[in-house]
């Protein structure tokens, strides 16, 4: 079931078109990563989806409710975790949560629940200004979860946090998705996107230039997994044997060994190793190279993600 559907989103700031004709959907339980370099239009897109920013064109539906005509009802279904730490420093963690819980009409038991989820129960009575950076980030996320939204929008939620807090946030997001929440996630950390996202959309200069699963994007670019083998023995015979294995697309000499181009390295590797060992060739080392989103991103935008 589709939770978020946005189509033809467009927003101009003076003479600059920040977002142009961006469309995508997110299903229940799906985590969608929106990737793009700085200034690509990610935050503008998110701002339009959350109703913070008006659209020049296009429409956003949350659970079928149009943001343009029923903004209040649509916003009740959206949890928003902005990139900045949107907290009141002179209120305690619990007071921050209670304030937003009241705005969303969420019960007090939800405050205790989300404090527990993000691991801040013991520090709930401390002023937010006294929290560490990671704790502030977790509180920032907790506010977005208070009203059990159908769609959770996280804009760079792990920027500048310690590894422990980052892992906790990622685990929280995974659990929420497993419970059926639709998640829109932007990040600068490619490994996060690969760990979390079912699908990603690559946005550059305001345009959504590619969309799909990691594998779909990799294949669309003609990139494949590679297995490099350092071998002792008859390389000619090994080439013939390995070339006959299903999903092996090519075998070529590579130093004192061979390099295989395959469809899925993890799936192929057992068959490759079994074939070699039964043909008297000794494997000295194995190296698997999988094209990742960084590769895809660089290929599509000509830029590294952190640029």
């Amino acid at each position: 079931m589709t939770v978020l559907s946005c189509s033809g989103l467009r927003r101009r700031f003076d003479d600059v078109v920040a977002v142009d004709d961006v469309s995508f959907t997110i299903a229940e339980g799906e985590t969608y990563g929106l990737l793009g370099p700085n200034g690509a239009g990610k935050t503008t897109t998110i701002s339009m989806i959350t109703g913070v920013l008006e659209r020049d064109a296009g429409e956003v539906f949350v659970d079928g409710i149009a943001m343009s005509t029923h903004a209040i009802a649509a916003k009740r279904l959206v949890g928003y975790v902005p990139q900045e730490l949107a907290l009141y420093p002179d209120l305690t963690g619990r007071e921050n949560l209670r304030f937003f819980a009241n705005l969303y009409g969420a019960g007090r038991e939800r405050v205790d629940h989300v404090l527990d989820v993000v691991g801040l129960t013991e520090r709930a009575g401390d002023l937010a200004r006294e929290y560490s950076g990671g704790m502030k980030r977790r509180l920032n996320v907790a506010i977005g979860l208070l009203h059990e939204p159908r769609l959770l929008v996280l804009d760079e939620p792990t920027a500048g946090v310690d590894p422990q807090s980052r892992n906790q946030i990622i685990e929280n997001v995974r659990e929420l998705a497993a419970q059926g929440m639709a998640i829109l996630y932007t990040t600068h950390y490619m490994e996060e996107a690969e760990r979390l996202c079912d699908r990603v959309g690559v946005i550059d200069s305001g345009h959504l230039i590619a969309e799909g699963t990691r594998r779909e994007l990799v294949e669309r670019l003609g990139e494949r997994d590679r297995i490099s083998l350092l071998l002792d023995g008859d390389l000619g015979h090994a080439t013939a044997v390995l070339g006959a294995i299903a999903n092996v697309r090519g075998v070529a000499p590579h130093g004192q060994g061979l390099e295989l181009v395959v469809d899925d390295a993890r799936e192929c590797l057992p068959a490759v190793l079994a074939a070699i060992s039964t043909n008297g060739v000794v494997v000295r080392s194995v190296e698997v190279t999988e094209p990742n989103l960084e590769t895809v991103f660089l290929h599509l935008t000509g830029k590294a993600l952190r640029e």
């Binding site: 701002s47 959350t50 109703g51 913070v52 920013l53 008006e54 903004a71 209040i72 009802a73 916003k75 009740r76 959206v78 928003y80 902005p82 990139q83 900045e84 730490l85 949107a86 907290l87 009141y88 420093p89 002179d90 209120l91 007071e95 304030f99 937003f100 009241n102 705005l103 969303y104 506010i143």
Partner: protein, 389 residues
Amino acid sequence: MRHALLIAARDLRERARDRTAYVLAIVLPLGLAGVFTLILGNISGDSQLFTYAVADADRGVVARAFTDDVLRKAAASGAIALRTVSSEQEARTLVDDGTATAAFLLPAGLTEDVQAGRAARIEVVGNVDAPTGTDVARSLAQAYTDRLGAVRTAVAATVHSGVSTPPAELAAAAAAVLPQAVVDEDTTGRRQLDAKTQYAAGMAVFFLFFAVQPGVTGLLDERRNGTLARLLAAPVRRSSILTGKLLTSVVVGVVSMTVLVVASSLLMGARWGHPAGVAALVLSGVLAATGAMAVVAAIAKTSEQAGGWQAIVAIVLGALGGAFFPVTQAGGVLEKLSLLAPHRWFLRGLADLAGGGVAAVLPSVAAMTAFAAVTGAIALLLFRKVVRP
């Protein structure tokens, strides 16, 4: 409205933890009012502030009229204390040793000079350490002699014009004009605030403009802190966000003014007047202050910039409106300009309340409410750009 109340409640909770807010809204105005009263109260209160000696060497009708009908009436009203002495030397001694603020020396032949058509001369000897009291004495003497001159001219003109008014009637008419002029002309005397109330009210309304700042600049703080985006993403109408911020200012203003009214009454003996009238003035004053500060906040790009401009506006309006000194006495353009300042209307309302019933504050309340309506409307229009999607 529920969301506006929630936003205001959150703001107030945060403000309650800010110690500078208490200093600005309560401690400073109360402290300064106390200091001003101590320093300046003795020259502008309503008790016997100046003691004057009078030495009458003339003993004629003109000297008696000045002593009995001008000075004694002023003494009876409580404005001065009067001490009659037998000689000029005694009067000078009292001034020199500080017993008297100043002395009036009525020379022998004063009445004779007036009746002969010569200029009347009343000598004033002042204490060098009491310039204000000496100035007041000079003013009393000058007013009397001026009026003598005016009457003399009028009588002469009447005689020369050939009008057949009997001299006795002319003399009676002239006598009737003479003495009441200086004291009884001041019909606003009963509508003035005593020094303690004047300074307490002046400082209260001056710092009110600072006390209401955080509420209206809160929107800029929210934008800087990133929480505005969160509020805009919440199922809350944008008008509720604006209303909540304005409400914060109004509540802070009313609370700080209430504390100041009560504290200055108990600690300084200020007499604010009927509670209903004071409440109407406080509420309309708070609304006016909120409106003025909201306009500045709406124009500013950051809360820091807003704070700077708000301080300037608060000081200019405060000075113009008579929070520090009575600008209205300056007259002319300055007095007309002072009508633009809510401070002027607030203080005038209190003075009217002191001299009349609760209804006497209505013109001031109306003026401040109109000021609040105009500035509030402008601020809301300008603030829309801050929360515009």
